[in-house]
Structure formats: C-alpha cells, structure tokens
Symmetry: D3
Subunit: 131 residues, 6 copies
C-alpha cells in the first residue's frame, strides 16, 4: 500500500544498499524497517534522512533512550500511527519500561491539554519568560 512500494535489500542498487548496511550496523539489527524501504525510491531522500537521524539520535547531552521517548511523544501528538508503532519499539529496545511509557504518555496527554487551555484562554506570555 506504500505509494511507491518498497525497495527490498536484494533489489537495491549500491547507493541504497550502502545506506541499508549503515542502518543495520548502527542499530545492530538485521532488518530494514518499512519506512526506509518506502523512501528508498528516492535515494537522495533516503540518504539525507538517514544521515540526519543518525546524527540527531546518537547519545550526546541527552541519551538515546530520552531521545527515543521524545520521538514517541511527538509522534503521538501528531497521531502518526506508523511512527508511534516503530518508535515505541525503538524506545523499548533502548530501555523504556512500561512505567516509563505510562509516565511519558501522561505528560504527552497533559501537555496537549494545557497547550489548548493556554490558547483558548488567550493567555499572554509572562514578561519574565520573554528574556
């Protein structure tokens, strides 16, 4: 059902295979998610997206688990079914427990609520937040 279908590893040209190999090596896995196989129809999109994700999601000032949970938070806020499924799996692989998941979702729910209360009540930004 993917718009352009999937590019499977065995059918991929060298450019695409190079990215697939890097994904599997970086993530220590032997499979490629449907997401990558779908966007691989445009090798430039595949490479740029993967290089960005690799740079952004590596451990830094924030660890990988925190980054994966932020990814779940955004995906849930945006109602992206594919992303919620794939990133919940990724977060679990990075160490997210059921308790962490429940707390994460509680914050996501609350933030989506107060975001609209703030807008709906037309609350002006406090001066001290404007620095």
């Amino acid at each position: 059902m993917a718009t352009l279908g999937f590019i499977e590893y065995q059918d991929a040209n060298p450019d695409v295979r190079a990215v697939y190999d890097d994904i599997m090596a970086t993530r220590k896995t032997d499979r490629i998610n449907n997401f990558w196989k779908a966007i691989a129809h445009d090798p430039a999109t595949l490479r740029r997206t993967w290089e960005s994700v690799k740079q952004i999601m590596g451990a830094g000032a924030l660890d990988s688990l925190t980054k994966e949970m932020i990814y779940v938070a955004v995906s849930a806020s945006n109602q992206c079914g594919y992303c919620i499924a794939s990133h919940t799996a990724a977060a679990r692989k990075a160490g997210m427990t059921d308790s962490m998941f429940a707390e994460l979702m509680a914050v996501v729910g609350m933030a989506n609520e107060t975001n609209r209360l703030a807008s709906g009540y037309q609350v002006e930004i406090d001066e001290q937040f404007k620095t």
Copy 2:
C-alpha cells in the same frame, strides 16, 4: 488580553488561594504564572488541572527534567507560544542546558519531518511492531 482576565492572588477566594499556595510550595516559587491566573476563573478547572500536573510531573520512573523536556517537545510540535515560553523556562530551572535544548529541538524537528514522510508515503506498519 486573556479571555476572562486574571485572578490575582490578593483578589482570589479561599479555594483559588489554596491552589495558588500549593503551586508555590510545590514549585518553590513566590509567583503564579499567567496560565494559572487565567484558568482560575473556573476554580474546578484550576484545581483539576493543577492536581493533574502535580501528579504527572513529579519525579517517578522518569525524572522531572525529562518530563519538562517532553512538555517542551509537545508544545513546540503544537506551536503553542505560551507553553513553549513557560516550559522552556521550567526545563531550564530543572537543569536543561543549552546543549540539551539544542538536541531536544533537533529530535522534535526530525520527528515532525519523518511523521509526514511516513504518512505521505503511506507506509504500512511492520508486522513485528504489531505485537
């Protein structure tokens, strides 16, 4: 400009003051954000919202800093100007450095991008994510 205006501490009835006092005690601050002063016009909304926030944002399986950063991530995804301002301040107070902020925003940006690539390419969910 707030739709119902603000309820200042000195003008608040006992129910509202009780919530204001709890906010200040819990957050170790001597001021009340505009957000609370705006929704205080409906004491039930004020109490319910504060009790929920207090329960959700306390340290648990996730620490408070992580929770505040998730709040910023959702607020940025939803384009809520008030919430971005207030929760960025709260996250800083909880220990978020400039490096953490930059990495947080990088994940938020990337997630908002791949959420739409996944939808736009109509990528079906991998079987192994459906467990």
Copy 3:
C-alpha cells in the same frame, strides 16, 4: 501586516461591497472583521467563504450558539489566535456566558488529551463502534 493588506469598505468594488453589505445585514453589525477585509483581495474567495459560512452557521438542527462554540473549540485545538479571538467574541454575542466558556474549554482540553492517549497507547477501535 496582512499579506495582501485590507480592502476597506470605501475602497471596495461593487462585488466586494455586495458581500460586505450581506455580512453586516446577516450579522446585524456595522463593521467588517479584518478577516473578510484580508481575503477580499480575491473576490471569489470572499464570496465563496462568506456564502459557506452563512449557510453553515445559521440555526438548524443545532442553534447558532452551539455552532459558535464548536468554532471556538476547533480554533483552540488548532491554535489559531485570530480565530480564537474573533469567534469567542461571536460566541459571546450569541449568548455564551463565562460558565459556558469554561465548560467548553474544559472539554476541548480533555479531548485533546485523550486523543493522544488513544493514539499513544495504540488502542484498536471497539467492534461495536464499527457499524
């Protein structure tokens, strides 16, 4: 700051004035909102939008106050500052009290929260809702 500026009544051509007159007659007012003055640069957009709004917002199975409150609910969910301001005013003119406003916003907040809990927890639709 509007992208194409405003078309004021005195500067409007006959097509635009006809729409302005109909707006004022229908809404029993002697002024034109900035919104109409902005989109009036494209008379087709002005006419189509006004005719649709007039048809949709008139009392029917739902009364006008209920319709205006739904408009506020959607505008708050979408974080549209202009629309929240203008439709809150319209709802008040149609009879919305402060209590109604507070209850409306409480529902909006709660719905925005549970929408994300349902997605984030990947809840499948109950069979009995699928009829």
Copy 4:
C-alpha cells in the same frame, strides 16, 4: 495491538475494578471501552483520566449532548480515529441525530478552513477583540 494490551474486568485488581464499576454506573452501560482497558495498565492514569472526564462531561451550563459533540469536533480536527468512533457513538447515545451530526461536521470543516485562511493571510487581530 494496544501497546500494553488490555486489562479485562475479570483480570483487574481492586483499584482498577473500582474505576470500571464507576464508569459503568455513570454511563449506564455494562461494558468497558477499549480505551479504558488500555490505559488501565497505569492505575493512576486510569483514575485521573476517568475522574476528569466524569467531572468535565456531566451536564452543567452546557448539556451532555453539546459536550459530546464538542468532543467529536476536536477529535475530527485532530484526526483521531479511535476518538471519532467512540465519541460519535457517545454523542448518538446522548441524542445526536443525523442532521445534528451533519451540521456539526459542516462547522468543523469550515472552521478548519478559515483557521488556515486567517493564518495564511496573516490577519492581525481586530482591536475590539483584544479586550
């Protein structure tokens, strides 16, 4: 497919059963929606969410039918499939006819349209709405 699965009534601990019983008594039904069974994995989330919904959705300045229709409006705006399904059913149970539903959706569609026209044309808020 729910992330943490469902907690069925017969498998629920006393805290969760207490909430399930209250839901059924309040809504005069003998079943529990998938939504509650999914979030019940975190009893604090279940209790807090149900208590909030119960408080917010009861008849007040706005009647229950109006509140359920607002819930549908927000859920449609946010594209939440589960919520559209469950709350459309709830609204019907509260008395929503097909005519009401059609008018509700017409307002939702129109509001989502004009929200973007207002933003896209960068319309500044009328002074008289700023009080």
Copy 5:
C-alpha cells in the same frame, strides 16, 4: 464503516444525482469516490463542498497539477489517510511523476521540521517580512 454509510448512485435522489453527474463530467470519470458518497447524506454539504472544490481546483494562475500536489502536501501534514490516498491518485492522474512525488514529500517533510524549529527556538519575525 462510514458514519452514515454511503449513498450509491442508484439510490440517490435527484439533487444528489445532479452533483454526482457533475463530478463525473468534470473529472472525466465514471465513478464516485467514497468521500462524496459519505457526505451525500447531507445534500447541502455535498453540493457546497463540490461547488467549492470545482471552483478552487480548476486551472487558473496555478495549474491543476500544482493544485493537486498542494492538496497532497496539506493532507500529509495533517495525517489524513483517506485524503493522502485519494489526492495522490488525483495528482498522478494530473501528471505527477514519481520524481515529482518524491520532491513534493521532501519539501513537506522539511517544512514540517523547520516549522517546529522556528517555534521551538521562539524566533521573532524579521522586520522586513512584516510589510
């Protein structure tokens, strides 16, 4: 599963059939999309929506292909599964190639990313954009 079901051509009253005939004549097709069959339960909604779409999507300063691609861009940003599917098909029929599709989605992804970076970093609008 559509809320009110579908109105098939053979079961349609004259008002609805007139719109169905116009859709098929305008789009040079012999079938009616599920979308029209669903909203046809409210003939006023069907007529108003079709008349608007016909007026808006016809070639003008922008050609039809460009308009269909904009429609895909918005639908992907909003995560509307039905709309992504139907408008991708329409765009292809209007001449969208796989390369155009890939470039379209790349822009959609990037725009959704930088929209949140701009908000999250609370970037004030440059003076020269305010004219």
Copy 6:
C-alpha cells in the same frame, strides 16, 4: 526573545560563517534570516538544516516557485507565524503573484476542510486507491 538569542555574522565562528556565506551565495542575498541566526547556536543543527534545505529546495522535477508555495501551504496548515511570513516572502521572490497566492490559499483552506470531513465521516479508503 529567541530562546538562545541570535548569532550575528560579525560574532560567528568560522563554521557558522561558512554556512552564512553559503546561504547568502545560494539565495543571492546579503542578509541572514532570524531563523538561521537562532539555530546557529548549535552549529550541527545549522549545517544539517541548511544542507537539507539547499538540497531539497533547488529546482528539479519541481521548480523552485512550486516548492516555495508548498512550503507556504504546509506552514499555513501548521499555523507557524514565522514560517508563513518568511516563506511568503521567499515565494514572492521566486515569482509568486497575488493571484497565485490567493489560489494557493484557497487550496490550503479547502484541503484542511475536506481532511476533517473525511475523518469525521470515517470514510474508508476506496479499494482502487490501495494499489
């Protein structure tokens, strides 16, 4: 008011200046938008974002004007004030006339409307769109 302030050209380190120079050369301008100056506090974000934008926005199967208009369409749908302002200016620079702008916004408005009608009416995807 930007969260981390702006990095002005004269205060920029060599890495940041290199990106600023490339932006000005590519866009044939002598100024740097506030957006770039804000994210420049994280040189990795600045470089990655600019390199992606440069790759994506260059003329290809779609010309630059079409790409800028898609960017405006997404930004309006997401209610991003900064992005609407800056990309409307960019689209004008690329050749967008007032007529094109009006038609663009008409499509954006209509798409945001029908996206919600499709969801709200729970319209199932036509079989022929699933190939």
